[in-house]
């Protein structure tokens, strides 16, 4: 019988946390397309070891990652292996939007934001807002201009596009459907994200 795995629905503009065991795969699905999903992870056994875009960059010698690449921890260890990706464009540069992203940059108080989305879900694991790792912004599109600037633009992802990663360690993970509805980033239309967790053998 086919294993459909555990499905977690992340409502538009909200977050969800979950655990993934070593050997399981986690698939992040952009249900309606053009929606960034902030993804963070840390080791279940030692939450001070966190998935890190900065350390991944050093390992890959690239801003971007592709199928076959490992995503690295703050301790320099591979935590996830990218095994499928129907989009191929993700961001590992922009910090999670937080309350100040909206209050300082856009003069809006009280807007939903990724940092609070992630922390609200991770607080039950005893984590403070400062413990929330820097995110990988799946499906987010931040191309490099010829003069080293970051272009602010919408994702290229279409409905049902996904990325699948194999967990190499037991992980606490969280996903936020980015609530950014002011600048390009989610097509000015915030939509849900689905997460599917399966045994590795069932995903292929």
């Amino acid at each position: 019988m086919e294993d459909h795995g555990k499905v977690i629905h992340v409502p538009a503009g909200h977050g969800r946390a979950f655990t993934v065991r070593a050997g399981q795969t986690v698939t992040i699905i952009d249900v309606e397309g053009q929606q960034a999903a902030d993804f963070v992870a840390m080791c279940l056994a030692d939450s001070s070891e966190r998935l890190s875009p900065v350390h991944t960059r050093r390992e890959l010698q690239s801003l971007f990652f592709h199928v076959g690449d490992a995503l690295m921890s703050t301790h320099g260890n591979p935590l996830l292996h990218v095994i499928e990706d129907t989009v191929g464009i993700h961001d590992a540069n922009v910090p999670a939007c937080d309350i100040t992203r909206f209050s300082v940059d856009f003069a809006i108080e009280g807007h939903r934001n990724c940092l609070d989305n992630l922390h609200e879900e991770l607080a039950s694991f005893g984590l403070s807002p400062f413990d929330v790792p820097e995110p990988f912004n799946l499906f987010q599109n931040g191309p490099v201009t010829s003069d080293g600037r970051m272009r602010v633009t919408d994702p290229t992802s279409r409905p049902g596009d996904y990325i699948t990663m194999l967990a190499l360690r037991d992980l606490i993970c969280a996903v936020s459907s980015c609530p950014q509805d002011i600048i390009p980033g989610n097509g000015l239309n915030v939509t849900p994200i689905d997460v599917v967790i399966k045994a590795a053998s069932a995903s292929t």
């Binding site: 900065v54 960059r57 910090p95 413990d131 080293g148």
Partner: protein, 211 residues
């Protein structure tokens, strides 16, 4: 001193300096409006910069928020370096080198050992020890701004470590906008072409002429 409509209510300080030996870290506190000069004292120096706002341990220089604040992957003249709450902390006002890094992590002792740099102290451990010595306890150790580190960003996202261009006497000068403690590491970075630690000089002045 900044040209305020009402004069700043503090005495002007005289020039202060700190020497950071190769492979070590140094700290210097800077008051609002002062200039911070960071100078290479040897060839190929890298200055990994960390900043902590005085009186509020939860506010620190954030390289990640600095990039998104200016929508730029690279540091340029006139750019504001901001805190983790997206408020300006300092501005890059002068720069004799022009190649800096906003993307690479601080080294750790374990990383340097694993990559055959021998038994050198990593930047992370050195900065953590200096924070402890200073009695500062930020909720996390931020990632650094790697001044003078030469890593070319290609348009396809490739990061190419290149030979560091800093020569003795090269410098950057920041106008600092909030009272803050800056910690500057001259540790081995573990980034090829930028992995030979060299000494640094830190200077703080009210006005450019004092340098």
């Amino acid at each position: 001193m900044l040209l305020m409509t009402k004069p700043i209510a503090r005495e002007a300080q005289s020039l202060r300096t700190a020497h950071v030996a190769a492979g070590t870290v140094g700290g210097i506190d800077v008051l609002q409006g002062q200039l911070l000069k960071i100078m290479a004292a040897g060839p190929g120096a890298v200055a990994s910069l960390f900043g902590f706002v005085s009186g509020d341990p939860q506010l620190f220089l954030s390289v990640h928020h600095t990039r998104v604040f200016s929508n730029s992957y690279v540091l340029g003249l006139g750019m504001r370096l901001v805190t983790n709450r997206r408020r300006p902390l300092m501005v890059l006002g002068k720069d004799t080198v022009g190649t800096h890094d906003l993307l690479m992590p601080a080294s750790t002792t374990a990383y340097l050992q694993a990559h055959r740099y021998g038994n050198q102290q990593g930047c992370v451990e050195a900065v953590a020890a200096e924070l402890k010595r200073l009695g500062l306890a930020p909720p996390k150790l931020p990632d650094p701004v790697n001044l003078f580190m030469h890593v070319r960003l290609h348009q396809d996202g490739r990061l190419e470590p290149l030979q560091n261009k800093a020569a003795p006497g090269d410098y950057v000068i920041f106008r600092v906008l909030r009272d803050a403690m800056f910690i500057v590491a001259a540790c081995c970075t573990g980034i090829p072409g930028n992995d030979q630690p060299a000494a640094l000089e830190l200077r703080v002045a009210e006005d450019l002429a004092e340098f």
